[in-house]
């Protein structure tokens, strides 16, 4: 399964890139995450549980590793999630390009979904991907709004519109928020497991 997406940031690639190295706020952005720990350099391990409709069996453990880092251009994110109902693994390639003072982040995840969720849930897989992606972005937007509101003294317009769409973020988002966005997309791909 291929999930591709593109996001616009108003900050330069270095800022975006560095933001991804901050692990501490990831869990709050991922629905159903019990824990997510940094267990080595660029390696995260966690436990997640998700439910979609009547499906409540999608409990899985997940390992995310960042590899082939070329600051501030790109890195690969290796994802390995396993649960009783199936698995998802693969590589998400994330690339950053400077554009008009900001950054275009391109995200392309080539994921293998397997087991029962793949063999029984095909009808819903793509929709789940879309929905989770959208939810993740909305959560990120809300989080950014909340963080930026006191500093800027005003509302911030952010949008989260799902796959193959772009989200524009304000310049002062900070690296933590950017991490949230990227990891929310990872979450979306992982939560495909939820069927």
């Amino acid at each position: 399964m291929l999930i591709e997406s593109e996001f616009m940031f108003d900050v330069p690639p270095e800022v975006v890139y560095d933001g991804l190295l901050d692990p501490d706020i990831l869990a709050s952005a991922l629905p159903g995450t019990d824990r997510l720990d940094l267990t080595g350099e660029d390696r995260y391990e966690g436990e997640m549980e998700a439910s979609v409709g009547p499906v409540t069996a999608a409990r899985f453990s997940v390992v995310v590793e960042l590899k082939d880092k070329v600051r501030p251009e790109s890195f690969d994110m290796h994802v390995d999630g396993k649960g009783k109902a199936g698995f998802v693994n693969g590589i998400a390639k994330v690339a950053f390009e400077a554009k008009n003072g900001g950054t275009v982040m391109k995200y392309r995840a080539d994921l293998q979904v397997g087991g029962r969720v793949a063999s029984v849930g095909q009808r819903l897989l793509e929709s789940v991907g879309k929905m989770m992606s959208k939810q993740g972005l909305e959560a990120v937007s809300r989080s950014i709004d909340a963080r930026l509101a006191p500093a800027d003294g005003g509302a911030v317009a952010t949008t989260g519109t799902g796959l193959a769409s772009s989200a524009s973020l304000p310049a002062t988002g900070g690296k933590r928020k950017i991490l949230l966005i990227v990891l929310a997309i990872v979450a979306a791909t992982l939560l495909v497991l939820a069927l």
Binding site: G86, N89, Q112, G114, G115, R116, A118, S119, V120, R123
Partner: protein
Amino acid sequence: MSHDTTFAAPPAEAPARPRQVGASPLRNEDRRLLTGEALFVDDVHLDGMLHAAFVRSDYAHGILKSVDLTAALEHPGVVAAYAAHDLGDYWEPGPLLVPPPPIEQLEFHAATQVPLARDRVRHVGEPIAVVVARSRYEAEDAAALIEVDIEPLEAVSDLEGGLRPDAPRIHDHLESNLAAHVIQRKGTWEEARESAHRVIKRRFWYDHGASAPMENRGIVADWDARSRELTVWDTTQAPIPIRNGLAAMLGLPQSEVRVIAPFIGGGFGPKIMMFYPEEVLLPWISMRLGRPVKWIEDRQESFFATTQERGQDHEAELAVDEEGLILGVRDEFLCDTGAYNPYGLTIAINTQCTLLGPYRVPHYHSEFRMVFTNKPIVTPVRGAGRQHGVFVMERLLDRAADELGIDRVEIRRRNYLTPEEFPHDHEIIYQDFRPLVYDSGNYAEAMDRAAEMIDYSGFESGVRAAARAEGRHVGLGIVSYVEGTGVGPYEGARVGIEPGGRINLVTGVGTQGQGHFTSFAQIVADQLGVGADEVEVVTGDTARFGWGTGTFASRGAVVAGNACHAAAVLVRKKVLTLASSVLGAAEEDLDLADGLVRVVGSGESVSLGDLAARANPLRGAVTPGTEPGLEATAYFGPERGVTASGVHAMILEVDPDTALIRILRYVVVHDCGRVINPMIVEGQIHGGVAHGIGNAFYEELVFDEGAQLLNASFMDYLLPTATDVPTIETDHVETPSPLNPLGVKGVGEAGAIPVGALFAQALEDALDIDGFEVREIPLSPNRLFELIRDAREEG
């Protein structure tokens, strides 16, 4: 006790007046099935019976690093759990069931399935561990607790990719994923190409699917140490080979193993496969635990654990002259054999041979490569590769007809072998290891009849014109096929008459719903002058009959039917001999009817029951040189397979806006030689056509690039329903086979074989869009929508 066994041709045909053969008595087995009394494997209930559930691989390809049974073994209700290392010496790859036939220069590499994966998993659903518990519910609870650690490897999912030098290798003991490479030639293709008026070249993809019988597989094994008997109820199409194999594997004499294939809820090929891992394990577990154990495959498992049939990628050329006469055919194809290949070359050779169809093909070059992939095992499913070959040939002929401006029926007629040309030797080897020689047929007559039934000549001005006036798109398809059926090696039967007059018939062949309880009874009834309902048939129990192979390759009626016939002829002879002495009349003056032997012209008679009692006297002596009882066993082994054939025609409506279809008419003219029971034969054709319609437009095993099956349920793997299958109009051409006394040919697979080719032609005819060509099966509304869109965009 068995007497008078013979492998030779039976004695001269008894002067029986056919009464039952050719008629359609109601089926003997139906009452039991209709009232819920029939015993299927899952109906077996034994005291103390345990239930097994399997842990299967989620990964298509990977290194199996560890299996931890601890938590499962501690779960309440669990009696045992096993992984590969627990099997010790019992762990062994299965047998190569069908070794390659004697074809020169063939390359073949075997890799057969294992009982439980040991260090590698090679397809999704491959069994890794088994749990045995008090109930299936508890067994599944515990199975979920087994921790399996698999390190994923890249999976082979496509055929071309699987043969690339850098492809991941599935079997370490082989140098590549090539399972076989075979070339068969007749004449010189190059010569045909040189002299051709036109050479038509196309690439085709034909995918088959799941057998999907309504009854999933199942096994109950019960080892009784005191009586030293292992009883195995198995949903197999081949109980006797299962018995023989199990005895060998378990180190038991064959006499201590009894395999029963009771009523089987449909098979369609994969239930002949052996040995399935579950078949190997359940008896072993029962012997270890000293308790009966049951495993019933669930529907989801069946999509992985039961073998299936899949795709072939053909690149084919047809050389024709100006008149449309076939000069030669060249075909090169890749064939998916899945993760293991216990069935050897069977499917690909069927394709290779069946491609030739009812046509005169002077030059033929056919070359195939079978490829291991990380998908479930491929073995024959109803049609068994034949539909792939028919699709290629019929599609090429359709293109030739287009290019040469010859009518599609006419181009077929010009190329048909004529009745005078039989036997016709195609000079290549068939799946039964025998030369592909057609025994008999009358293809032009079948075509004429089908064309008449569907009103081929009136279609344009009639149905099509009327539809067009309403803005509807209808098309007609009409295609031919030939099918090799009834292959050897042999089957046997025992016929006996009891003193009470009951007539028993026992065979080993097994049944999967084809009406053997009735058609075999008809054959015997004719010899003994009784009704088919008076013959009690037992089949599929190795304790009752221990010799035979199984029901596959449309061979039941041909091979077992003729064995029944031979045994009945011998019993008839005994009856007449004894009656002759009892009634004091010459055998020639005796007549068998209504359970009596009568002296023609006088009122004197004696019943079969009385004769049976006299043949087994309690006092006196049996005359030296004779045998007690009215019983005989006989076998039949055909010299080679027999050639059934037919023509299918359909009228199809397509809505080009939605790509939805409706079949308006479906006609089948079929030649299966002499028809034993027309009702049953028609039923077989109906079912085959429905299966073919499924293959053409509904059923597709959809794998992703990682060889994960995306539709392992009846929600998404679509079997056609009553609203998808039309009324099928049938007619028969009878060219009796000279290769067996009954003159019969097989029919079980026929209906399914030409349907893909027929759909393709009818769709093209209905849509009439420039550049719209169907080169693949299965289709679906979505795929048809894409093909229409692409053709329009290109046009």
